[in-house]
């Protein structure tokens, strides 16, 4: 179980290969990467604020829950904060297990909880002003299935 909260950019491919090497013997590795979208073509940057101290704690609790519910050989969460440009990686999770079902479910669980239980807030800076991204009802209701 590895949690990293950082301002620095990271490379999902490099992280995936290192994670796969660390969890050798797993059989199934799932990764999710979140990338800054620019649907309008107007986004100049995305600024991610977080709550230092609580962020790490919340992510560790979420990951510990995943480890207790599924049979995992490993779990990785990386989440950035600070200023990101369109196309940059915001975060990634990876899970490793003997079987694909555990790896997939644990990765989806991590994402669902991370989305609305880890203290991150996104602000979009557009040419015509700034706006905080609002939480979606669908993200809250995604937790119901777990």
């Amino acid at each position: 179980m590895e949690i990293r909260v950082q301002a620095e950019a990271f490379r999902s491919g490099k992280e995936l290969e290192a994670f796969t090497a660390r969890t050798r013997g797993a059989g199934a590795v799932v990764s999710f990467s979140g990338i800054v979208r620019d649907d309008s073509g107007e986004l100049s940057e995305m600024v991610i604020e977080h709550y230092p101290g609580m962020t790490e704690k919340a992510l560790e609790q979420i990951a510990a829950q995943a480890v207790s519910r599924w049979s995992l050989a490993g779990a990785l969460v990386i989440h950035r904060y600070g200023s990101l440009k369109p196309g940059e990686q915001i975060m990634m999770v990876a899970t490793a297990a003997r079987h694909r079902k555990d790896a997939f479910e644990a990765a989806e669980f991590l994402m669902d909880y991370l989305k609305s239980r880890a203290p991150f807030w996104k602000k979009e800076r557009n040419r015509d002003g700034d706006s905080w991204v609002s939480a979606k009802d669908s993200d809250e209701s995604a937790l119901d299935r777990w």
């Binding site: 709550y51 989305k115 203290p119 996104k122 905080w132 809250e140």
Partner: protein, 82 residues
């Protein structure tokens, strides 16, 4: 004495990220009442509690949670990570 932290648009509306307060509030809701009475910007930030979340000592909590023993309370909008 208690540390009160604000994040995202709560921080922007109140105009500061953190303050140290002397309070006799026994629950989060009491503290919110106290803050609302201070200044217009607080009243504005706390006008709709359903749009807010609270953490006590870095754990998510409810607005009716007790502040007994709490060192740090944080107010923020629903989280949007991932």
């Amino acid at each position: 004495m208690i540390d009160v932290l604000y994040f995202a648009w709560v921080r922007e509306r109140i105009g500061l990220p953190k303050e140290r307060l002397e309070t006799s509030a026994s629950t989060v809701a009491d503290l919110v009442e106290e803050l609302r009475g201070r200044e217009e910007r607080y009243a504005l930030a706390f006008s709709d509690l359903s749009a807010l979340r609270v953490a006590i000592d870095q754990e998510l909590a409810d607005f009716d949670a007790s502040l007994s023993g709490a060192r740090e309370v944080a107010f923020f909008p629903p989280m949007t990570g991932g």
